[in-house]
């Protein structure tokens, strides 16, 4: 092993105390918008980001389509219609609050991005005359061309634009800094959030930040079941930075979560289990509605929701006769009839009819504007596509007019996983909030993928701004609390411990063990005995393996902290699974020790939180958010007035 001197300053045991009105943890698109909203309202804001804001987060290098922009000038649908559709589509295990905010304010955030220097319309008239372009506004649409509520956007311009705006608003950026623990205070009114402890991942310096309000914007957990020590970075779809540390610190502090029992059979892990999704020929999401052909070059038919074959490419982008609109994109996989759009013939039917594998996407058969929209705009602006897919495949000689790109497996996942190889994907669990996106702890707000049943960058931007706005408003009436020194010292001891272990265990070994544990004890089919064994083994690892963890520098320390957070999330998932006593289809939750599926008494949000370290179950009815329009308008009069 080649060893180098550490090039960054050694700031071990150095500690800086800071105070801010609003503290934002996580600098992806959600966190950036939260910080911007608070700073625009005149607040002092600190943004903590483990990586580097310019391209951090799941949408750091781009995103290609913006869903549910119901208030854009061309939209033919209302925020109420689309929110209802998403809630119905997810059998009411859905975040009506976040979806409504996305539908209602999403387009405002796109307009902000344009103001900050991002590109949201076809200003160069590259697609002039295209069916999906509105000639007046130059906005481009995806999926449902009749209703125009999903926009094609130039997402690779967004993070640099957000960074410029953060700097303009004098937001204090603590980059290369991991948030590790929430500071809390027990008051007569209950526990409240009062800031966070953080560590610089290059120098080891500790930051103790007192904040009037804190916004959690740290995405969702990963590497719980899927882990490859050789290709850690490709273990899951989201960046290795987004590991669930926000969930773990929230869980330790007493923040309430729901749907943590939901996990789905793996869809994306490019570490040997799939090909990177957007780099293959397919007809989902970025690639909708690519022309697909079989091995012989025979075109695969697109059907409407009633099974009628569609004759033209154009027809793939319109609702069926009598249908108001259809849903496509992020979390929409096999929608209910009411919301189902055009789709290629089901795989089994294709096999019966003699279609031959492998399949390919053949863009050469599509009109030029559609070809260029998929290859060049969507593949190019979607995250991880500009250089890795568009650039690399072009360099290898791929020309969409002359070549067709192979499809792998039977669907857009481009892989086949085993039942125990699971992920938190497809609107998974997360933090449950009130209509202010405030958690059960006063002073702590949540947004983006840290919320339960969330998906899509547009939703992250919209909920981020909203949470930042509410956190800013609340900070007016809150005083600072002095951090609990004993807690801070304890946290520093926990963080630094692996530095003092020589020849100990590498974080990869423990991550591998935890992922295997989850596959073995919390796989596709659950039962109490197995789940309890899983918890027992997890505790055993805490006692025996954790004290052996060893790190040589702050970078390795960061990775080690992430695995400790993965363990906390695994514990939360095991407990959440124990709490749900029957199987549930919408939650992809199967029990072998119950013969009931979705009985009436279990159709509810089961919540989990710790109360003074004790795991505590709660129950909240589905649709607890009431009528979205009424509830939203009650609480956002100023915002509505200001937008006029």
């Amino acid at each position: 092993m080649k060893e180098y001197r550490w090039p960054y300053a050694n700031e071990l045991n150095e500690k800086e105390y800071r105070k801010t009105d609003v503290l934002v943890l996580g600098g992806g698109v959600a966190g950036c918008f939260a910080a911007i909203a608070a700073a625009e309202r005149g607040k002092n804001v600190i943004l903590v980001e483990k990586g580097s804001v310019i391209h951090s987060g799941a949408a750091g290098t781009g995103f290609d389509h913006w869903e549910s922009a119901c208030t854009n000038p061309c939209s033919k649908v209302t925020p109420e219609e689309i929110t209802k559709a998403y809630v119905d589509e997810q059998d009411h295990y859905s975040n009506g609050i976040a979806h409504y905010i996305e539908c209602r304010e999403g387009y405002d955030r796109l307009a902000d991005l344009e103001r900050f220097g991002g590109k949201i319309r076809d200003t160069e008239d590259e697609f002039a005359g295209a069916e999906f372009r509105d000639e007046e506004t130059k906005l481009l649409f995806a999926y449902d061309y009749a209703n125009k509520f999903t926009l094609r956007v130039w997402g690779s311009t967004f993070k640099p634009a957000l960074l410029r705006q953060l700097k303009k608003l004098n937001v204090t950026l603590l980059e290369r800094t991991e948030a590790t623990a929430l500071l809390t205070e027990d008051t007569p009114e209950g526990r409240r959030g009062t800031g966070a402890v953080c560590m610089n991942v290059r120098t080891g310096k500790i930051e103790v930040i007192s904040a009037k309000t804190t916004v959690l914007a740290m995405s969702r957990p990963a590497r719980i079941w899927l882990y490859n020590p050789d290709m850690t970075g490709l273990s899951e779809f989201r960046p290795p930075q987004c590991i669930g540390s926000g969930h773990a610190m929230g869980y330790r502090a007493g923040v309430e979560f729901t749907m943590m029992e939901k996990s789905v059979r793996g869809e994306f892990s490019a570490a040997g289990r799939s090909i990177p999704p957007y780099s293959t020929g397919n007809n989902h999401n970025t690639w909708y509605a690519a022309t697909m052909v079989d091995a012989r070059g025979v075109e695969i038919p697109y059907l409407d929701r009633d099974g009628n074959e569609l004759k033209t490419v154009s027809e793939r982008y319109y609702p069926a006769k009598g249908q108001k609109f259809f849903l496509k994109g992020g979390v929409i996989d096999e929608p209910k009839y009411e919301y189902r759009g055009p789709e290629t013939m089901p795989f089994d039917e294709l096999m019966k009819r003699g279609y031959r594998l492998p399949f390919y996407a053949d863009l050469s058969r599509m009109p030029e504007s559609e070809r260029k929209a998929i290859w060049g705009l969507m593949v190019g602006e979607e995250g991880k596509t500009k250089i890795p897919v568009y650039g690399n495949l072009t360099e290898r000689g791929f020309d969409p007019e002359k070549h067709m790109l192979q499809s792998y497996g039977t669907g857009w996942q481009s892989a086949s996983f085993l039942d125990q190889e699971r992920q938190l994907f497809g609107a998974p669990g997360g933090i449950i909030t009130d209509w202010d996106l405030k958690t059960n702890l006063d002073g702590i707000y949540a947004c983006g993928d840290q919320l339960f049943a969330m998906d899509c960058a547009g939703a992250a931007c919209a909920t981020g701004y909203y949470a930042g706005r509410k956190a800013a408003e609340a900070s007016d009436t809150i005083e600072f609390f002095t951090p609990d020194e004993a807690f801070v010292e304890n946290e520093i001891r926990r963080l630094y411990a692996p530095l003092y272990v020589e020849d100990g265990m590498d974080w990869r070994e423990l991550n591998s063990a935890v992922s295997k544990l989850m596959q073995n004890y919390c796989g596709g089919v659950k039962c109490d005995d197995l789940l309890k064994e899983g918890l027992d083994l997890l505790n055993h690892y805490r006692k025996t393996a954790v004290p052996q963890l060893s790190a040589k520098n702050p970078h390795e320390l960061m990775r080690t902290h992430e695995v400790l957070d993965i363990m906390d999330v695994a514990e939360m998932i095991l407990h959440a699974c124990l709490m749900r006593k029957s199987s549930s289809k919408p939650l992809c939750f199967e029990r072998s020790d119950s013969d009931q599926t979705d009985p009436a008494e279990d159709q509810r949000f089961i919540t989990i939180r710790t109360v003074n370290g004790v795991v505590t179950e709660g129950s909240i009815p589905l649709d607890y958010f009431n009528d979205p329009k009424t509830e939203y308008e009650k609480r956002n009069r100023n915002y509505i007035e200001d937008r006029k």
């Binding site: 050694n10 990586g51 580097s52 050789d230 020929g281 390919y360 995250g383 991880k384 890795p388 520098n553």
Partner: protein
């Protein structure tokens, strides 16, 4: 005081390679990488890809590189999608 050490961690893949004749050693790539897989030791020279296995393959390093062709970035061989000539 404890001394930190950086150790190159081997991976089967090499996501990022530098063309030393083109790279100006500005280390903008290392600063743009959210995963922090690279360490720039000496200005004027390319950074060292210290943790290649942690690469997320997002391409932010290339997006921020001021010199075209200074970074060669590629997916692991097994993840390189096959394409063929159109059949019609």
């Amino acid at each position: 005081m404890m001394e930190f050490k950086a150790e190159f961690i081997q991976s089967s893949n090499h996501p990022i390679r530098f063309d030393e004749t083109k790279c100006i050693g500005c280390h903008r790539c290392a600063e743009a990488c959210q995963v922090d897989v690279m360490i720039g030791f000496e200005k004027g020279k390319p950074p060292v890809v210290m943790y290649p296995g942690e690469c997320w393959y997002c391409g932010a390093c290339v997006m921020e590189c001021p010199v075209e062709g200074a970074i060669r970035f590629r997916h692991p061989l097994m993840n390189q999608t096959k394409f063929v000539e159109v059949k019609q």
